[in-house]
Each structure stands twice: as C-alpha cells, then as structure tokens.
Amino acid sequence: MTNNHLAADLPVSRQQDAAGPTAKHSWKDVAADKAFNWSIAAAAFFVLISLSGAALSMLWGGRLAFETFGWRFFYGTEWDAVGKKFAALVPIYGTLVTSFIAILIAVPVSFGIAFFLTEVAPRWMRGPVASAIELLAGIPSIIYGMWGLFVFVPFMSDHIEPWLDSNLGPLPVIGSLFQGAPMGIGMLTAGIILGIMIIPFISSVMRDVFTLVPVTLKHSAYALGCTTWEVVWDVVLPYTRTAVVGGIMLGLGRALGETMAVTFVLGNAHNLSISLLEPGNSIAAAIANEFTEADSDIYLSSLIALGFLLFIVTFVVLAAAKLLLRRLERQKGA
C-alpha cells in the first residue's frame, strides 16, 4: 500500500523543486501515470459492470415472457411453440434432477480421489494422477457430448438400463425411477456424464484443502493410534468441512449450467416424468436446442427468461461456494 502513495507523490514533488528539462519530463510522467491509472481502473470496472450487464440484459430480453405469463412461468409445464404458451417447470426439473444425480456420483468419487491423492498413493504417483484427473476438466464439453451420444448412450441402452429396468423397476417406491424403455437417452445418462465432468473441479478443491490441514494435528491423531481412514474421516474432514462444501457448490454450479454435453444426451423432450430413463430437458439444453428456431418474439423472450433464471440460480450457488471457500483462504493466510 505504501508504495502506491509513493508512486503518486514522487513525480509531483520532483516537478515542484526541479527546473528545466527535468520538470518537463516529470510533468509528462504525471500525465502518463494518470492516464495509466485511469485505464486500468476502467478495465477493472468493466469486469464489474459486465456481470450486472449480463443479468440486466437477460432480464430485459425476458421481460416479455415474465409479463405475459407471470408466476405461471415458474410452475407451469406447457411448452407450446404453436400456441405460444411457455412455462419453465420441465426444464427446471430436468436441470435439478440431472445436477442432483451428478452430485450424487461426483461427491463420493471426488472424496475418494482426494483421499487417494493425499494419503494413500505413493508420493511419486500423486502428481501424475492429479494432472490426469485435471485433464478431465480440460476436455471441451462438446467432446463429452459427442462421446456421450455415440458411445455412452448405446452402452447404457444395451447393458445398464435393461438391467435397471428389470431388477430395480419392480421394487416399491424407488422402482418408478427406473421404469421405461431403455433408450439410453435420458436424465440418468445426462446425470452420469455431468458427474464425470464435475469430478475434477470438486476433487481438486478437496485435495487442496486437505493438504492445508496442519501436520501436527494429523500427527497427533496418528500418535493416538488412529488409522489413516480415521485420521481423514475424523480429523481432516471436520477441519475442512466448510471448504469441502464450498467445493461441492462449485461443482454444482458447473453442473447446473453445463450445456453441450447435456444437450446431446437428454433428448430435448418437454415431458415431466418420474422415471430417470425417460428423455427430458434442461434449461441450458432447451436454450441451445431451440434458440435459433424460435420464430416468435414470445418464444425468444421465454428462452432468454430461462437464461435469466439459470443465471440467477448459478449466481447464488457460486456466490455461496465463494463465501465458503473464502473463509478457508483466510485461514491459509493466517
């Protein structure tokens, strides 16, 4: 902080007591410094404005839909391009269900990976395995989508879904989740792919925070005779609880907004069904699929309103994640 003051003061004081060419030179420096400071401040404000600009522009674009349909937009199930009636419950439901499946898969696996990378694996193996897992985050989502459509969907419909249908389908209560034609396309497939996609995000946060646990704490637990598992479950995890939840929220934010992978495998069907094997829709997939086909103002506006909804939900989730993780960053600093 102090050097900032120095920077601002120095050229001015030189300008005052120096004469001739030096004064001219330092006057130029002051002007250049001012211009420089203004331009970097403007760039920083641009970042600040672009987020609110994104929110406002979508609210503005979606206002026709909000005005026309009112609250019904949030709980109605109709999506009728010909009759020009739109409501968002089906895509909202699809987004929530697929993200929930993704979290259900990604959280235990990510915890396992973080446990493996911090305690179980031999030291030489940790770096390469961690980088390989992070590569999963580097693969573009359209590649996940293509792989999902051409490889994973047939695999699900040939091997996994018939088994689910015949073995879990007849069960009471949960059975209805797994009934239906094994087409491969649907909520379950989309949820699994989303789960794979968010594993690297959650596991890298977990691994990072696990390594921040003070060594003395872990050593004390080992000295009391704890096993490795007991140290991680009873010492490391409680110590890092907040940040772990933050990491999960970060993954959830990704899953909610993921577009291309879901678009390929979800089926783009506006129907509301309990079964996870049925095709459905999600907010992001509906926008990606239908935006260029939207032929009326109200259709377009409904899709932008969906985008606004998605933006608000992911904003809340990501902001919560950020706040949970910030507390840990402070601990790291202290």
Binding site: A8, I113, G138, P140, W147
Partner: protein, 286 residues
C-alpha cells in the same frame, strides 16, 4: 476383555483397508473415463482425418468435404477474443494487484470475476446476443469473437492478479527509489518479472475458449460457405461438430469426429504445456 479389544482392533483395520481400497478405486474410476473418452475421440477421429479436411469447405448434407472454412472461422474468432480480452484482462488484473490489493473494491471485483469465471458459458452467449446480435440485426463473427472475449477475460484477470502479487515488493521499492513513474514500473519491470505466469494464463484461457460451443451457437451461428469477413455469420469447428454429430448422415459424422479430434488435440496440448509452465513457475517462487 482382551478378545473384545482384539476384535475391535481388527474391525478398525479392516475398515481402514476397505476405505483405502475404495479410494484407489475412485481414482481408477476417474482415470477410466478419461481413457475411454480420449481413446474414442482418437480412434474415431484418426480414421476421419485426411488431407481434404484442410482444403475443402464444409459439405452440403450427405456429401463429402472438409472443414477449411470452420477451421478458419474458429481461428478468426479465437483471435478476436484474444485481441479484445487480453488487454482488458491484463489491465484489470494490474488494477487488482497494484491498486486494490486489500481494499473492499478489490475484493468485490475479485468476487465478481470469480463468478464470471465459472458462470455458464451459454449465459454469456445470451448476453452477447442481446448486446450485439439484436442491436445489429444479424449474426456475425464479431459477435462470436466478443462472446469468446468475455469467457477469456476472467481467466486472464485472475492469473495476472495472482502473478503480479507474487512479484516481490523490493522490486517495486527499488524502481520507485530510482524515480520511475508507476506506468513504467508496471510495464517494464513488473510485467517482465511476471511474464511467464501471465503468458501461461493467456494460454490457459485460449485453451478454454477454443472448445467453447454454447456461446457461439447464437452469436456466430454457422456458415456453410467460405467467408473472411467477420461481419457475416461464420463457420466454426465447435458448432459444426454440434450440427454434424446430431445429423443422420455418416459423412457428416466422420467430419464431426475429425473436428473433435482437432479441437481435443489443440486444447489438450495448450492446457498441458501451460499447466506445466505454471506449476514450475509457482514452484520456483515458493
């Protein structure tokens, strides 16, 4: 008494072994998907790669052809994204690191930037659609490039901020003691000291925008023909993959696989090398 504690001891160790086994399985689970996805892309893509990809345009339905206009369009739009996003990103990152390191304003901007960093890219697409496509009345390569710039921006802001904060304060003090103005100190000393990290940040951002599809769907759209004017709708590899993969034609499928392989190799190459550079840099500063 002894028997009880013995069995309890055994149970705890068994539990430990099970947990360690499961964690190894979890790691293998992650690697398994990576291998499966990459192998599929490489096998399907390699059989579709040929010389025509780089000399012919995208074909009409069911026909043979190449990806030349899509490759060119992608390069142009990524280029526009880099040219627009990098200077703003570096400037904003400089402001955060040099002017607002611990202030409330700085924390707010960092917070907003981190949200932008993980915001769904389709939302950025919608934003640029209402901002530009609606105002100008048509889809264009410029709009696509601007959408990509918005996705590149937060990555560059963050790495610039982090890398400048790593530059030791003694360097700033020495330069100021010599009477250097702030702008000279920043551009000629701090940027030079942090250049490796800042370049890898930009590379990382390029890797991210090269595979982005969602923000291009309704900004650049697609174009079956050659155009070198970004004011027109422009073809680009991700959107071509999207359309061709969902089509019923085999020749389009194989072009989509070829495109997928090109994008994957490009993205992975950049992200692996930049991560390696960044890791070495961070390590060197510790």
């Amino acid at each position: 008494m002894r028997a009880v504690s013995q069995s309890r001891f055994r149970w705890r160790h068994a539990k430990n072994r099970i947990a360690m086994g499961l964690s190894t399985l979890a790691a293998l689970f992650g690697l398994f998907w990576l291998a499966w996805i990459l192998l599929t892309t490489f096998i399907n893509g390699a059989s579709a790669i040929n010389f025509k990809l780089f000399t012919e345009m995208t074909p009409p339905p069911g026909d043979e052809g190449g990806l030349l206009n899509a490759i060119f369009g992608s390069l142009v739009m990524v280029g526009v994204g880099i040219i627009l996003g990098t200077p703003i990103g570096i400037a904003a990152g400089t402001f955060l690191a040099e002017r607002a390191r611990r202030s409330k304003l700085g924390e707010t901007i960092r917070f907003v930037n981190d949200i932008l960093l993980s915001a769904p890219s389709i939302v950025i697409g919608l934003f640029v659609y209402t901002l530009i496509v609606r105002q100008t009345g048509h889809f264009s390569g410029w709009a696509g490039g601007i959408a990509l710039a918005f996705i590149l921006l937060p990555v560059v802001v963050r790495t610039t901020d982090e890398m400048l904060q790593l530059v030791p304060n003694s360097m700033r003090e020495a330069a100021l003691a010599l009477g250097l103005p702030q702008w000279k100190l920043t551009t000629q000393i701090l940027y030079r000291a942090a250049s490796a990290g800042m370049v890898t940040g930009v590379l990382l951002a390029i890797a991210r925008i090269s595979g982005e599809t969602a923000p291009l769907l309704f900004t650049a759209l697609n174009n079956q023909f050659w155009t070198d004017n970004p004011a027109n709708p422009m073809a680009n590899i991700p959107v071509v993959i999207f359309q061709y993969a969902l089509s019923p034609y085999d020749s389009w499928h194989s072009l989509a696989w070829a495109g997928a392989l090109i994008v994957t190799i490009f993205v992975l190459f950049i992200s692996i090398t930049s991560r390696a550079l960044l890791a070495r840099r961070r390590h060197g500063n510790d």
